[in-house]
Amino acid sequence: MPSGPNPAVDFSRAWFDTVMALDPKPKSIAFVAADAEFARNLKEGAVANAKRIGLKITYNKNYKPGTPDYTPIIRAINATNPDLIYVASYPNGSVGIVRAVSEVGTKARGFGGGMVGLQFSGIMKGLGPKLNGILNYDFYVPEPNMNLYPGVTDLLARYQKVAPSRKVDPLGYYLAPWSYAYLQVLGDAVNAVGKIDHAAIAKYIHATEFSTVVGKVKFGKNGEWANGRTLTVQWQNIKKKNDLQQFTKPGIRKIMSPAAFATGTVKPFSALR
């Protein structure tokens, strides 16, 4: 994943850069995460970012995967009155938390963070306008600035043509470009080395900058991406429920960060609900 040299902390860095642009500046934050490895790591990294910025932590808890209803969690968070809510969740939890916050409401001005699953077509289609205002990580969205990536539009057009028959995500924005890029990196390395020699291939990958459908890729000494490229996007202007096509158009998931790709400015969560 394009998290950066220190993945746990770098993954949420762009999210914090974005929410700190809210006016007035947020002062407090609540954290909630699925009790599983990725989500916990993500939350710990986000906690480190919050401490670095000087945000007061009002709530910091984990929940078990498979929790069917999240309204008690949202109510408990609201009782601590945070300015921001950072969620690190898996698809089931992400849907449950979005539904719960839609029902219970919140005064928090920034909501989202590391919610896995909101990028999936079936979930986007099902939640529709409930996603408005959520500020979340992403890897690729159909915004004009993302065309900086060479060949990605053509790749996605080819992918979307065959996706329904292969029973995979019909839009493929979230993972298809990155999966393709991984194989481009591996393919280029194998071709350059000329044989299947794991040590030589690894050495080549460490030393080389690759050109892929997600742009230039370079790895650092620890094997992570030399520079992070996780996006922070905010869902805006979703009008209809059960309409997947609206998510293929620009202006729905506006990019807030990194600045090179930005297509919008962050708005308070409640202003978009």
């Binding site: 909630v32 009790d35 808890k61 984990n62 929940y63 078990k64 995967p65 498979g66 929790t67 069917p68 209803d69 309204t71 008690p72 969690i73 109510r75 408990a76 009782a79 601590t80 698809p91 089931n92 849907v95 449950g96 539904r99 839609s102 029902e103 219970v104 699953g117 999936f120 077509s121 079936g122 979930i123 289609k125 099902g126 939640l127 292969r166 029973k167 995979v168 995500d169 429920k241 059960n242």
Partner: protein, 296 residues
């Protein structure tokens, strides 16, 4: 951070959550509780039911609960067939303990793989008119996406309780669990009664699947998340007791909701399963289990 508003909402959500857990567990209280069949594939059947509801909902807009009810006879027949295979291959030969368990494990994986082949591994959701609404009474919110499954779970539990206590087949089901030899001496074939009982337990999966897909998004293996919970509820309620299963589900829902609200969600499984251990320590037969039943 204690407040009346938090408390009352935690209790209401706990009860609704309990209804949801009851819907998932009630069929297992028949197969595992009454018939001693460790149907580890029970949640997989629920997911199968959920996907059927999803297909009809996404293509034709049909309400998932209506589809769950319509398909329950199909699931009933499916259950009859599965039990006959289980009976002929394992139970009849006394090999049900380990091989039978492996059979249901296999069945679980087959269902999951078939669902993956047809639907892929993406999460799917249904749309129903009531899922986005909530009723507000003062400070209390009742989300319909939880309330509607709760109502149908109650109807299913009450219906099954009535069936098992007031009808011939229901009483025969209880008799199989208590003394199948006595039943045989009275001229009734226990295998026939067990076949029907298992069919009913699988039929409940169709409706439970409909209720599940209203509450959470589904993917083929999501049922695994609930295996421990449904077995714990059946044991806590008392093997074979539908009323006990309902009470245990309510208890679990309430404990989870209250602990989540006031102490944090990570404590809720520990407290819920701690309560299970405590109850079983003082009443090994479960809440409404029969005295002398040592299976718990």
């Amino acid at each position: 951070m204690f407040s009346f508003e938090l408390l009352i909402n935690a209790i209401v959500i706990g009860i609704l959550l309990g209804g949801f857990y009851a819907a998932l567990s009630i069929g297992l209280s028949i197969s595992f509780g009454l018939l001693d069949i460790v149907n580890i594939a029970h949640p997989a059947f629920i997911i199968l039911g959920a996907f059927i509801c999803f297909v009809f909902n996404s293509h034709y807009g049909i309400d998932p609960i209506l589809m769950g009810i319509i398909f329950s006879p199909v699931f009933f027949i499916f259950g009859l067939l599965i039990y006959r295979i289980y009976y002929e291959r394992f139970e009849k030969t006394g090999a049900e303990a380990l091989r039978g368990l492996a059979f249901f494990f296999g069945l679980m994986f087959i269902i999951e793989v078939i669902l993956i082949m047809f639907f892929g591994v993406d999460f799917q959701m249904v749309q129903a008119g009531y899922t986005d609404f909530k009723a507000t009474f003062g400070v209390v919110d009742i989300p319909f996406r939880m309330f509607v499954p709760f109502v149908f779970a109650m109807l299913m539990a009450i219906g099954l309780q009535w069936f098992s206590s007031r009808t011939f087949f229901g009483r025969a089901m209880q008799a199989v669990a208590q003394d199948s030899l006595a039943l045989r001496l009275m001229g009734i074939d226990p295998a026939k009664i067990k076949t029907i009982a298992f069919g009913i337990s699988i039929a409940t999966c169709s409706i439970a699947g409909a209720l599940l897909v209203i509450v959470i998004p589904i993917e083929p293996s999501v049922g695994r998340l609930y295996i421990g919970q449904v077995f714990a509820i059946v044991v806590l309620g008392g093997l074979g007791s539908q009323s006990g299963t309902l009470i245990a589900a309510m208890l679990l829902g309430l404990v989870e909701s209250l602990i989540t609200t006031f102490f944090g969600p990570s404590w809720s499984p520990a407290v819920a399963f701690g309560a299970l251990i405590l109850v079983l320590a003082f009443k090994p037969t479960g809440i409404l289990g029969r005295v002398g039943d040592t299976r718990g």
